[in-house]
Symmetry: C2
Subunit: 243 residues, 2 copies
């Protein structure tokens, strides 16, 4: 892990860009935190530059509670090399959605399974590097982004203590069995009127999670219209489980 | 409205029992509030004495945010005269649930519709009397209890600005059309693993509500196991809409 830039944001948050091998990432730490901070891994749909405004807003909001936040670019997104197979699957998905057709499981599998298989070990490597920093202590939460990545991380990464998942993207049917193995506390966000999302699939997935403490927050506002008050609700979820 | 008893609770909350004609009720006001307080009508399934510990806990929690709280006994519950028809419908419902049979719409109609028709005007009369008190200002929220009563109140009572509904009891099919007429902000609580409740009906009802701002909070813990953190979430909902 190599830091490549550093700047102080207005509200006493230190923002550092880094690379982890070929993978770019960003770390935000509350500059005034006295002790090693708990860490939130900030998920996103891919494209760090495009997503930056929303990511930094989430990181600042978390920093106000004393949390560090970190994110890395997804495989095949942003400045990282494209995968022809993933691009093809994404085009097939778009075509099905635009035609108003039901999305074939096979397309979802082609798009999501290789992404999860590649991304999850990268997030775990990032976690190794981040937890080695003096200013980061743990425990660790995962928040948002591609829900299938959060799901797999919740199953395979014992250092993640709680996850806030955004039920806004497709999950391969095969991963519903994995959902039963999740036991950490979950808060799942669902945009009830998200046209590009399968609401029943999201409800089935929420039902499948094995966690004893799981909470579903459904709101209106479309795919990108998660209400602002869910930022506070997310903070309180992590305060309950990471502090 | 006639006050029949008065006592100060530990945390600077004034508790007064009252009667409104033959209907008993309780009013809790934050003793130290400088100005007329917003009011939360505290719903319950009937039986003020039995429900008292939970009701006073909710009222104290709300008082900490500066809210007054008030509740009245439901028709046919507590010390109020029983209705033979309602008792019969309740017995029929219990029998169906114990036999694991689907609950007939006709039983739900017989049980809930007369209750709603009788209770709602009573709550509105209570609201007249409460808002005439110097220490209560408004706006007004409705919280919990029999969801069909909250639903009807949200439609017919323009002084109610926001409602926190507990999707834990049956709603007559005929009232789904009324749900579409609800436009105030809603927060709906659903116990996901509530065996005595119809989860799909609760989701359909949430979908039917006409409100632009509506939020569903689903949790585990069975019918009576609403997590403590939902008390805080409820307070924040009312702080957003009543202050």
């Amino acid at each position: 892990m190599q830091f490549t830039s550093e700047r102080h944001l207005d509200d006493d948050v230190l923002e550092r860009e880094f690379t982890l091998g070929e993978i770019p990432g960003i770390l935000w730490t509350p500059a005034s935190a006295p002790a090693p901070a708990p860490l939130i891994l900030v998920g996103h749909p891919g494209g760090l530059r495009r997503m930056y405004p929303r990511l930094v807003a989430r990181a600042r909001h978390s920093a106000a509670e004393g949390f560090a936040s970190a994110t890395i670019e997804l495989p095949g997104a942003g400045d990282r090399p494209r995968s022809a197979a993933a691009e093809q699957a994404r085009a097939d998905l778009r075509r099905a959605l635009e035609a108003g057709e039901p999305v074939d499981d096979e397309i979802v599998d082609r798009l999501v399974l290789p992404l999860v298989d590649k991304a999850v070990p990268e997030w775990r490597s990032a976690l190794d590097a981040l937890l080695a920093l003096r200013e980061i202590g743990g425990p660790v939460g995962y928040s948002g982004g591609v829900i299938a990545i959060g799901l797999r991380l919740a199953v395979v990464e014992p250092r993640i203590s709680a996850a806030l998942l955004f039920a806004g993207s497709f999950v391969p049917r095969a991963m519903f069995e994995e959902a039963r193995q999740v036991t950490i506390p979950l808060q799942v966000l669902l945009q009830w009127d998200d046209d590009g999302n399968d609401r029943q699939m999201a409800l089935d997935l929420f039902d499948a999670f094995g966690s004893k403490e799981k909470t579903l927050h459904a709101n209106m506002g479309g795919h990108t219209g998660v209400p602002q008050f869910e930022g506070d609700a997310g903070n309180r979820f992590f305060v309950r489980h990471l502090t």
